[in-house]
Assembly symmetry: C2
Homo-oligomer: 77 residues x 2
């Protein structure tokens, strides 16, 4: 199986969701991207259809927005 | 590992999320509850902290609200 990619911005909601998802699918199956620290990847996230973080992009390319930490616009600011 | 429980209400967003989650964690690891059909379980979902569906309750009891299909209030109506 290809990896899922978890986009987050370091927010408390993000950290909790990250831990839960790693527990569910296994750390080896998820790449983690912090778009709060690496703002060069914000446009990549937007291109995938991500509107808010935390969000999980599955190997199929589906975006699962999880709970609500911050909008992409807020991360840009 | 205990099972996660996926609460949904049959909405298109719910069905997509269900398929993705089953793909990620495996059908044997998720119980599916349709609170749109089985309204007696709405109060159970609320008691777990679910505000909208689809939502996944992990074996730790954490609630992951996924995308946005419908609020619990809408499902009651």
């Amino acid at each position: 199986m290809s990896k899922s990619v978890f986009y987050h911005a370091g927010c408390p909601v993000c950290v909790t969701a990250e831990q839960e998802l790693i527990g569910l699918v296994g750390a080896k199956n998820i790449s983690i991207v912090n778009i709060g620290e690496d703002k060069s990847r914000i446009s990549e996230a937007e291109g995938l259809g991500i509107k808010s973080v935390p969000a999980l992009v599955t190997p199929n390319g589906s975006v699962l927005h999880i709970n609500y930490g911050a909008s992409i616009e807020d991360v840009k600011g």
